[in-house]
Symmetry: C2
Subunit: 441 residues, 2 copies
């Protein structure tokens, strides 16, 4: 039998933190399995790390503190960038691409914010820039979107794509605890950083959504147009009212094709408790994708962690090695899945979206307040789907309203008008509802 | 920008039933999207169909009743085999491969039973034989196993891979209905065939499991060694007792690496109601895969239907087109994911597996019967995890036992010995339990 070209890869790892260290360990642990899959070896021949850990690095000859040493090494086929952040990672990738090295990176911020430039540079130098590990850890979602679902026009996708946030929301829900309290526990467990902003304010999720949205719709990466709202304003009361209405609250990233363009938004979201997505709890990730041929498919698994992320890094190496072995003269996959980007597809401003809404209105316990709220909603073309108003236990009584679909601009105006009423004791808490109309899973 | 080679594909579709017709329709519906993805056209230039439907076929010039016409057409790059069954599909594929055509097929029976020979023939002729659509319809599970999870040594996978069976089990569970009754409804709804054997006896699932197991473990396709047990013996009582114990019953395909080799088995299975897999209801498919690096990932979606299956067929075409465009001189992916198969991995006989078991024992309402059953189990090294014994409402009283892990050979001997007791009024119903020890999702 002709088993094809048996060329392996000479690999440099730049950055030996959680993901870089995990990748090195995985390449060692599964070396025999990988050799069987490839008929060749994935050989780490260079490592660049700020702080050298000789105990981890037996058998690696070329150690350096300077990632550019790896990038300039002629014997290296592929550079794994696991430095993280922008500086010096961006420069390392740029230089590696110019030097004709393939890149595998887990750096979601870099891809979301500098990807357009980097993909162009990769193409100009006829090398592959692979980034499966940048989104949803070990779940092969880039491959699913770009290749597995390539027959489809993607209608929308919605994902739980930040494990920290999902852990916090899950704990708040199952144990009726407050945000601040669960955040501290998440920090103690190592799920949340000392500065949790990136996770709880949705920036990390927005990076991932930006990347998935580009692949889904064939649009340039536009991180700055992705609407981002965190979970710190969600209260146990909101979770409890949502529950009463048949919903749970998840921090979702949603990308959707609409008549006005493409919606790209990260925010807390009510979704029916019967959905599989609603039942994805803890630090895992889950992404629901709807294609115009296949319908809805769901991808669930660990979205972070050294080994899970390394699984995706090494999968990119295996792919690259197979491509080279097949004799491919140029990268097999366009990085974002399209040879030509569809023209005229722009990201919709958040005020232009149509959604259903949950409103928690801190009303005074007065005659006629519900009528005044209703007439303001009606005046803004917003119709009511459900209301909860409990007996007042103090001067204020929360009124919970679920609306039918409305334009967010109109909703914002209605909220301003309601908050201006004398009957209203504070700010209205507004959470978007995602019905996934008519779709399974 | 250099957009690479813009070669498209000339395609012949052989067989214009549900999947072939769906594929033709999808290529037409998403033609523009596919052109953007590829910068080239996927052009159906030939169709072979037993019964010509001119109304469906506007724009197709080369129609024929004989699939070999397509296979022998020099202008054709790839043949889509959607004839189904073995004859003449097997001969069509063989001849096409010999003629140097790439193949895309949805034919799970053919791959599971003749795949070893066909993959060898494809390799000898340096062409790709793609079969994503043969397993789990629109869910890109072949790609996930062979590529997305390629960094892993796969520990096990477990899937709901027959939509008909899952629909029946879901209906029996949610509506407390009997098997025969739900089967008739499934037939009326078009979910089950007039002869439902393939679905309800697990043969269809065994075909898919055979394929997934080969890719997961790098072993030859061995359909005849896949243990297969159907769902027709499951009663509403079993579902109700399982429910009481915290379980639901699903028809699963399970492939697992064990110390003795590889287990390959399709059978009704108790699994905890808290699992995502337990919550995959209706005609969908769901596959849980455990890799030694990534942990557990789940893939859920439509496992059948014209458009969902066509989604996978066309994804294979897109992949193939990209491979050719990149200049690949040989197939990019080894069909089963391995260049070299691991040696000495054999499929374990069902009697050699270790599992936990649910037993429903139709006992007479007599003093000491539970003691006699217990001592037989103990004599066969089987320990009891839970028992349900309700008040007798007739002469017999069902005793429900959940066992701890035991060897199936011992369990079978114990069942024989218990059935031989004078206290036992009939056959014992035995269902395997899958605990997925220590694993999420």
């Amino acid at each position: 039998m002709n088993n094809g070209n048996r060329k392996g890869l000479n690999i440099a790892i730049c950055g030996l933190g959680t993901v870089g260290g995990g990748t090195l360990a995985l390449l060692q642990k599964n070396a025999e399995e990988l050799r069987l899959r490839l008929g060749a070896e994935l050989k780490v021949t260079r490592i660049a790390t700020r702080t050298l850990h000789p105990e981890k690095l037996s058998g690696i000859e070329n150690l350096s503190n300077d990632p550019l040493d790896a990038v300039n090494d002629e014997s290296i086929d592929v550079v794994i960038e696991t430095i993280g952040g922008v500086d010096p990672a961006l420069e390392v990738i740029r230089q590696a691409l110019v030097n004709g090295k393939h890149i595998v990176t887990a750096n979601k911020a870099l891809i979301a914010e500098y990807g357009n430039e980097l993909f162009q540079l990769a193409q100009a130098n006829n090398v592959t820039l692979a980034f499966e590990s940048s989104v949803a850890g070990g779940i092969p979602i880039i491959k699913a979107l770009r290749e597995g679902l390539a027959a489809n026009k993607i209608d929308w996708l919605a994902g739980i794509i930040n494990g920290t946030g999902n852990f916090i929301m899950s704990e708040m829900t199952s144990k009726k605890r407050k945000f601040d309290e669960v955040l501290i526990e998440a920090q103690e467990l190592g799920y949340a950083e000392a500065d949790p902003t990136f996770d709880v304010e949705g920036i990390d999720a927005a990076h991932k959504l930006t990347i998935m949205g580009s692949i889904a719709f064939g649009i340039p990466l536009q991180f700055n147009k992705t609407y981002t709202e965190g979970i710190s304003q969600i209260t146990p009361e909101d979770i409890s009212y949502a529950d009463e209405l048949g919903y749970c609250i998840k921090h979702l990233g949603i990308a959707r094709r609409s008549e006005k363009g493409v919606e790209m938004r990260v925010h807390p979201t009510l979704l029916s408790k019967s959905r599989l997505l609603a039942n994805s709890n803890g630090v895992g990730n889950a992404i629901l994708v709807h294609g115009n041929a296949v319908g809805a498919t769901l991808y669930n698994g660990p979205g972070a962690g050294a080994e899970a992320t390394a699984s995706a890094v090494v999968a990119d190496l295996v792919d690259l090695c197979r491509h080279i072995q097949s004799g491919a003269a140029s990268p097999v996959y366009p990085p974002l899945g399209y040879r030509e980007m569809p023209s005229g597809v722009s990201v919709v401003d958040i005020e232009d979206i149509n959604a259903e809404y949950y409103l928690r209105i801190p009303a005074m316990d007065r005659v006629g307040v519900m009528a005044r709220i209703s007439s303001i909603l009606q005046a803004h073309n917003i119709s009511i789907e459900a209301v909860i108003q409990k007996e007042a236990i103090s001067e204020t009584v929360p009124i919970i309203i679920l609306t039918h679909s409305a334009e967010e601009r109109q909703l914002n105006k209605a909220i301003d008008a309601i908050e201006a009423l004398e009957d209203i004791a504070g700010k209205i808490n507004r959470i978007r509802v995602e019905p996934f109309h008519g779709e399974a899973a």
